[in-house]
């Protein structure tokens, strides 16, 4: 018996955030959407058994021929249109997909309701059982701060906003979830590597030491960093980390990218400041805040040109940082307030006492670019 594909529009979730502007969805986010299909199938099965309490198992072929497919991305903000496909027998007289569609729609609604409940601090288990909540470990994992996936954007009052906060609530609502996974970017050194087990230890700057797997494609870099341990062998690692319920990193599940860094890399220097505690300056001295350091990491990654000289970064007693460059005859310092993201720039020509004084407001993109221009101009002035 031949069959045909029949599809119905099923879901049009909206991705909110700067990364999704311009009618584009990063491939890593599509990975999250792929897990949604797994969750829907399992939730539909649960819905069926819920409606048929006398049955021990779902009917044979319940999920055969059912799949979710991305059929397009709407113009404007990134709204992936996801259709549910059913394979129907050609002889079927039904104009609509099989009765099973009912359970898939119920499953969709249960997931939407659970996400809304998480956002409204209500009991998510009213809508989904604990075992199904575990799927949120992989759905929404690629979302960053300030980003969200609205599963039901048509309902502006309750759009079922999955973000880092609601995802965590959904996961922690399940007592089955002992550990959570998150995307991580870490910097550290490699004090130990085990070629038999294909694992290595990453000693995170200002953090714990955790174990990670060695992928064949990363073997050379891991070996080199291991050989240079204690002598500048710092790596930057991006991958998936496994955290306990108290948000402490336990291990690294997978490594997607790993690369060697210069020991004076600004991001390494900023990580080193994370270990400071209040009173670091002989009882005085405010420790730089995590949020402020995260912001400065973002600033350097986004705005500071790789072609410019690497500065030295020091803590200030007030809880900020002072960034310094020695360029040609100039001694340059930039005192940065990590709370308001403003900086005082002072450059002194040690030969002729010429001074350049400026104030930067790094909340303004123009000022971020101006710092690059200033450093470039000074570095080229007497080169």
């Amino acid at each position: 018996m031949s069959s045909t594909l029949n599809n119905i529009e099923f879901l049009s979730p909206r991705l909110v955030g700067e990364r999704f502007s311009g009618h584009a969805i990063p491939l890593e986010v599509l990975r999250d959407l792929a897990v949604l299909e797994e969750m829907l199938v399992e939730t539909a099965k649960w819905e069926y058994l819920h409606e048929h309490p006398g049955r021990q198992r779902i009917p044979r072929g319940f999920t055969n021929g059912v799949s979710l497919k991305l059929t397009g991305i709407e113009e404007g903000s990134a709204i992936p249109k996801i259709a549910l496909f059913f394979t129907l027998a050609e002889t079927s007289l039904d104009l609509f997909p099989s009765d099973n569609a009912h359970y898939f729609h119920q499953a969709k609604n249960s997931i939407i309701n659970a996400v809304n409940a998480a956002e409204q601090n209500r009991d998510v288990k009213e809508y989904l059982p604990e075992n199904l909540l575990c799927y949120f470990d992989r759905i929404g994992r690629s979302l960053r701060d300030g980003e969200s996936l609205e599963l039901n954007p048509a309902d502006t009052a309750q759009p079922a906003r999955l973000n880092r906060t609601t995802r965590r609530k959904l996961l922690l609502a399940s007592s089955n979830v002992m550990e959570l996974t998150e995307e991580i970017t870490l910097r550290g050194s490699i004090p130990a590597a085990d070629q038999a087990k294909m694992t290595f230890d990453l000693h995170i700057i200002s953090g714990p030491t955790v174990s990670a797997p060695i992928s064949p494609q990363h073997c050379d870099i891991v070996k080199e960093a291991f050989m240079r341990y204690g002598n500048g062998g710092i790596v930057m690692l991006q991958g998936i980390g496994r955290f306990n319920r108290n948000n402490r990193l336990q291990s690294i599940d997978s490594v997607e990218h790993i690369s060697l860094l210069d020991s004076n890399d600004v991001l390494v220097q900023l990580d080193e400041l994370r270990s400071l505690e209040n009173g670091w300056l002989d009882g005085e001295g405010v420790a730089p805040g995590k949020e402020g350091l995260d912001w400065l990491v973002g600033y350097f990654e986004t705005y500071y040109s790789d072609e410019l000289p690497v500065p030295c970064i020091y803590p200030t007693p007030e809880g900020g940082v002072q960034i310094e460059w020695a360029l040609n005859a100039y001694e340059i310092s930039l005192a940065v307030n990590l709370n308001n993201h403003k900086g005082d720039f002072h450059a002194l020509n040690m030969s002729n006492d010429n001074e350049i004084l400026k104030s930067f407001d790094f909340n303004k993109p123009d000022d971020c670019v101006l710092l690059n221009q200033e450093i470039k101009a000074i570095s080229e002035a007497e080169a």
Binding site: S263, N264, W280, L281, P315, P317, E324, S333, D344
Partner: protein, 129 residues
């Protein structure tokens, strides 16, 4: 205290990166009442000043650098004996200056101190200097 008298400055470990010393090490912090604390080298050696600072005052130091009285005076920074906390204590007075003048003067002092090089380095900190 004469022109050539060295004023010993303890350098906090957090004020050194890649062997470079921040200008902050040579200007007073807000708690210092605009005066930079130093030791009078005519009265105490660099090694003894380090021991006093780290073992008696229980403060952190990676080592000692120095500027002399003449270098301070040329920058219009008065140098004052201040034996109240302990006999060898002295002050470089920045009270006439606020930011950014104090930052300029700190860079000038650092230049002189770096040209003179370390007078004493904590033994287990050679790697970071």
């Amino acid at each position: 205290m004469i022109d050539s008298t060295l004023m010993l400055r303890q350098i906090h470990p957090s004020f050194i990166k890649q062997g470079q010393i921040t200008s902050q090490a040579f200007r007073p912090t807000t708690k210092d009442n605009s005066k930079l604390s130093v030791y009078d080298h005519d009265m105490i050696s660099a090694e003894k000043a380090y021991e006093h600072y780290t073992k008696e005052l229980l403060k952190s130091s990676a080592g000692i650098m120095a500027v002399n009285v003449k270098e301070c005076n040329e920058l219009n920074l008065p140098v004052l004996s201040d034996p109240a906390p302990f006999p060898e204590h002295a002050l470089i007075d920045f009270s006439e200056y606020s930011y950014p003048q104090s930052e300029k003067l700190a860079k000038k002092l650092r230049q002189k101190a770096v040209e003179r090089d370390w007078l004493y380095v904590c033994k287990n900190r050679f790697d970071s200097l």
